[in-house]
């Protein structure tokens, strides 16, 4: 019989606020002239994120598994990741807000007169702001979803805007569109797997609830075979999102083709959302079956770490390098997943935050390095940048060293805590491989640092544009956080310790 559903709007509010902001954004598109849209959208987006974050702070201790009829679990873990996503999205929006990353007239052919007209009229594709907010809403929902339908919907909510935004780059449009196509096709492909996995998990347990799958006795019709099929297919959908080998191939191409602020946003926030979901699923639903998936996930983690770092060694494009770096980091984070203990959960949370800040910061810097034709991502052109722009170079070096896990940066504490958790779970192989692949990874981070600092600048070199105040704030916050979390990690470690709780 139909009973009124009860939704705890207070706990859903952060997501709803973001969705509301997005809707307002759509309305702004409709009702304001192209000149005025820009500032309004920026203010709106930033405001939405701030309000949502404020609300999130208010409800940070309200833990419940029934906020939305069992569809979401608002727990420490979820709230923490939501907050992280909001903060990073805020920084990313600051980068996005900088003028000229997006094609002014997306539908116009590259190089056409129409495009030229759009450029000269100064119009902007302000639709990215609502799209970003939609994506943020999806990302916030993804790690707290506790049934498979919500999970699937959240996945799509976060993915679709990203597919679109990937194709909006102002320069090198063909590449950008190609990236969008690749991202879309592969994304859709992987969500088909994801869905198929859901079907079989349902076949196994007769339920779509994450918790019930985990505790399902062998259901009358279900067979463990369904569980295995379901688990594998579902996982592959998620592994695609985090960019784990061999489901990573989209990452470099998309990272390179997408507008750089979007790449930053995507690299940081998607990873957090996807890992949030992964952690929730494996720490919750699949906890009891760990013996069947741990070996395979461990293997994936190892392959991801090793191949990611090896492949990055010979990259010549900074964005591709960072893409492979994100693949490597996915490997390390997977080590946190397979650790399967509280330390692993806390470590993963810390790692995601640290990684997120460094990533947004690094891509923020990429947006600054330009020549007459726009952003320059060819590493050889970056040579000797430190001479011209020491501060920017130092910040970049800081982010890279953090990626490399050099002490005194947040990346080191991340790596340390992840490895500690993995070690604690007895998974020493992953620690050893992790350490070795860190060494390889260090090579290419240091290669970039070396290029920046020690090579002579080429004559047709690049320059760093004077960053706008927003970009400056974004990069500044990222740099400060990267350093602060490296020097005094207790700030965050204590927080993740208390927040690393999962409700089922």
């Amino acid at each position: 019989m139909f009973t009124m559903p009860t939704l705890n709007y207070a706990q859903l509010a952060p997501i709803l606020i973001v969705l509301g902001g997005a809707l307002l954004g759509v309305l702004v598109e409709a009702f304001f002239g192209s000149k005025r849209r820009g500032p309004i959208q920026i203010t709106l987006s930033l405001g939405t994120l701030v309000i949502s974050f404020a609300w999130l702070l208010r409800i940070r201790n309200d833990i419940s598994a029934t906020a939305a009829m069992g569809s979401v679990a608002t727990d420490g873990f979820g709230i923490f990741l939501q907050g992280t996503i909001l903060v990073l999205a805020f920084l990313a929006v600051l980068l996005i807000a900088d003028n000229d990353h997006f094609a002014p007239a997306v539908s116009a052919l590259p190089g056409s007169e129409e495009e030229a007209a759009a450029i000269s009229s100064g119009s902007r594709t302000t639709e990215v702001f609502p799209l970003t907010l939609f994506a943020v809403a999806g990302m916030m929902l993804f790690p707290i979803a506790s049934d498979f339908i919500t999970l699937f919907v959240a996945l799509e909510v976060l993915s679709l805007p990203l597919y679109i935004m990937t194709g909006l780059s102002r320069r090198r449009r063909l590449m950008s569109q190609e990236a969008a196509l690749k991202y879309f096709l592969l994304g859709a492909y992987s969500s088909a797997f994801f869905l198929f996995g859901i079907a079989f998990l349902y076949g196994y347990s007769g339920t779509l609830s994450l918790t019930d799958v985990g505790t399902a006795n062998i259901f009358s019709a279900g067979s463990p075979v369904f569980l295995y099929i379901g688990m594998v297919f579902l996982t592959i959908g998620l592994l695609f999102k985090v960019g784990a080998v061999p489901f990573h191939s989209w990452t470099p191409d998309v990272y390179q083709g997408a507008p750089t602020p979007i790449t930053g946003f995507m690299a940081a926030c998607t990873k957090i959302a996807a890992f949030g979901a992964l952690l929730r699923i494996f720490y919750g639903a699949f906890f009891l079956m760990q013996y069947s998936w741990k070996p395979f996930l461990t293997t994936i983690a190892i392959i991801t770490m090793v191949l990611g770092s090896i492949a990055a060694m010979t990259q010549r494009d900074i964005k591709r390098t960072l893409a492979y770096s994100s693949i490597t980091h996915a490997g390390f984070l997977l080590a946190g997943v397979v650790a399967l203990n509280k330390a692993g959960l806390a470590a993963s949370m810390f790692y995601l935050v640290a990684y997120g800040f460094a990533t947004v910061g690094a891509f923020g810097i990429v947006t600054l390095v330009r020549d007459s034709s726009g952003e320059v991502t060819d590493l050889s052109k970056w040579a000797g940048l430190a001479k011209k722009s020491p501060l920017v170079s130092v910040a970049m070096a800081l982010f890279l060293l953090s990626f490399g896990g050099v002490p005194m940066t947040s990346g080191f504490i991340s790596k340390f805590s992840i490895f500690t958790a993995a070690y604690q779970s007895g998974n020493i192989a992953i620690v050893v491989v992790g350490v070795l692949s860190s060494a390889i990874a260090l090579f290419f981070y240091l290669r970039v640092v070396l290029t920046l600092f020690f090579q002579e600048a080429p004559t047709d070199g690049v320059s760093v544009v004077i960053p706008s105040i927003m970009t400056r704030i974004a990069i500044g916050i990222c740099a400060v956080m990267t350093l602060l979390l490296g020097v005094y990690p207790s700030l965050l470690l204590n927080l993740v310790d208390t927040m690393s709780t999962l409700v089922h």
């Binding site: 050099v406 002490p407 070690y423 350490v435 260090l442 600092f453 005094y488």
Partner: protein, 501 residues
């Protein structure tokens, strides 16, 4: 804040001061850097004078929680071992600043950057010896690579970028292995009690033999790369070739000592059983280092890489002494670390002056300097004598102690190691003969002899070498209790006297 913390952090004050000075005022910047480093040195002297060997553990202990979720503390404390190395550091830094007065100019970056890096490095160098928390030690151990990386890459010569990268990669690779071991021992401590990184607490753990072996290797390889022990040494010659003399002095004189220091502080005391298992193999590596480094030194054509290879030989002696784990071997090795610091400093200082005057580091470009720049030639000769461990200079005392200590446990190794002293004579005298003796080679005519600043810079080094050679007691007096306590922690005693009463 206790005096140890104060000494450790004091150079950072200089960094802050320098940060606010205008870039162009290079002379003032140098003066400030020199002043800060001298005050640090004096502070460390005060600390040393008030130092009393603690019955057990460390003196000047201080501890504040740092990362409480992992029980990581900002914990400092020193024993004799650490004290002498800290003193070495604080003495060498002003000498480097004064001796390499002009080497900061003409780099990629400003003079200001150079001295800020040097002072940051000084804090790290003191801190790494003072840290009693394994995690803190590790963090500093790794972090100190960064300033050196920039010092080599930014102010060096020749293939500086590649050399800096190679140096950093090697060290970080080792560091990562060590990280795995650090985590491992933390987990073990968490299993046996509340997790801890305190070195004293960790030494009381009971660790099964296989685990000990792995953890030992994790630490050891990191230290062996840093030390550098054969066959992990190939980063060194390039780095020494590319770095400025000042950087080389800090690199070889102090930084690399962290490797050998770590072996004593961590490998020996935390994993005594594994030490006993691996000692014979490490002794073999050490002996190879001694002989190999000496032969390679003979074969070098570049002044800096020659000095680097002599150091590889000397580090072989140090590890020989350490892994013989006799009181003579350990004390000798520790004392060796100090003396090698001074003797390398002397060699690099004078070598650096020679190179900067000649604008070439190729040995064949020199010749007959004795006639034209007698003071410089003499100082180079004396530095060379300390490198070949001439009795009367402090390097003799330690080298002899090492060999003596090794002989009682590993006679064959000591006998082969002794060959090193003949080879040492060869490489030093060949070098001396080619650069200082013979007729004056063309290109050297316009060389000038040392100026007063340079003489003042090197005087303390030579004085230290001579005084400690004649009267090593103050150093040995400080080192001996630490040695005893290390051996007690390892639960070993010196081998028995074979014959006699």
């Amino acid at each position: 804040m206790n005096i140890l913390s104060f000494v450790t952090l004091f150079p950072l004050l200089g960094v802050v001061a320098l940060a606010f000075m205008p870039k162009t005022n290079t002379h003032q910047i140098k003066i400030v850097a020199l002043g800060i480093s001298i005050i640090t040195m004096l502070l460390s002297f005060v600390m040393a004078l008030k130092y009393k060997s603690p019955a057990s553990g460390f003196a000047y202990v201080t501890s504040h929680p740092w990362v409480s979720s992992f029980h990581i503390n900002y914990a400092l404390g020193i024993d004799g071992l650490a004290l002498v190395l800290i003193l070495l550091t604080t003495v060498l830094v002003p000498i480097v600043v004064l001796g390499g007065w002009n080497e900061s100019e003409g780099g990629r970056w400003s003079v200001k950057t150079f001295y800020m890096l040097i002072l940051v490095l000084e804090t790290f160098m003191i801190g790494v010896f003072a840290a009693t928390d394994v995690f803190l030690f590790y963090v500093i151990f790794e972090a100190m690579l960064v300033p050196v990386y920039f010092l080599i890459g930014g102010f060096g010569t020749g293939e500086r970028a590649a050399a800096a990268l190679k140096f950093l990669l090697y060290s970080l690779f080792g560091g990562l292995l060590m990280l795995a071991a650090v985590i491992g021992i933390y987990i073990i401590s968490a299993e046996q009690a509340i997790g801890s990184f305190d070195v004293t607490a960790l030494s009381h753990l009971t660790i099964d033999h296989a685990t000990q072996n792995w953890l030992f290797l994790g630490f050891f390889i990191a230290f062996a790369i840093k030390a550098p022990l054969w066959p992990f040494h190939t980063w060194l010659p390039g780095a020494a070739k590319a770095a400025t003399p000042g950087t080389s002095i800090l690199l070889l004189g102090v930084l690399d000592k962290v490797g050998t220091y770590g072996m004593i502080r961590f490998c020996l005391t935390l994993f005594p059983d594994a030490t006993k298992t691996f000692a014979p193999y490490i002794i073999v590596l050490s002996v190879i280092s001694v002989i190999y480094g000496a032969f390679l030194a003979i074969g070098q054509k570049n002044l800096n890489s020659l000095i680097a290879f002599t150091s590889i030989s000397h580090f072989g002696f140090i590890t020989l002494g350490i892994f013989a784990y006799t009181s003579q071997g350990l004390t000798g090795a520790t004392f060796y670390m100090v003396n090698h610091g001074f003797s390398t400093a002397a060699l690099f200082l004078v070598g650096g002056w020679m190179i900067s005057r000649r604008k070439s580091a190729a040995i064949e470009d020199f010749g007959g300097l004795q006639r034209i720049t007698p003071v410089m030639a003499w100082l180079f000769f004396v530095s060379g004598l300390s490198a070949l461990a001439l009795p009367g200079l402090s390097s003799f005392v330690c080298e002899f102690l090492v060999l003596l200590g090794t002989f009682t446990r590993y006679p064959v190794a000591a006998i082969i190691g002794t060959l090193g002293i003949v080879l040492a004579a060869l490489y030093i005298l060949i070098l001396v003969q080619r650069t200082l003796h013979g007729p004056l080679k063309s290109g050297n005519e316009s060389m000038t002899d040392l100026n007063l600043r340079e003489k003042i810079a090197i005087a303390p080094v030579i004085a230290a070498l001579v005084i400690l050679g004649f009267y090593p007691k103050p150093a040995l007096h400080v080192i001996n209790p630490s040695t005893t306590s290390v051996m007690a922690q390892m639960n070993v005693t010196d081998p028995h006297v074979l014959a006699g009463k």
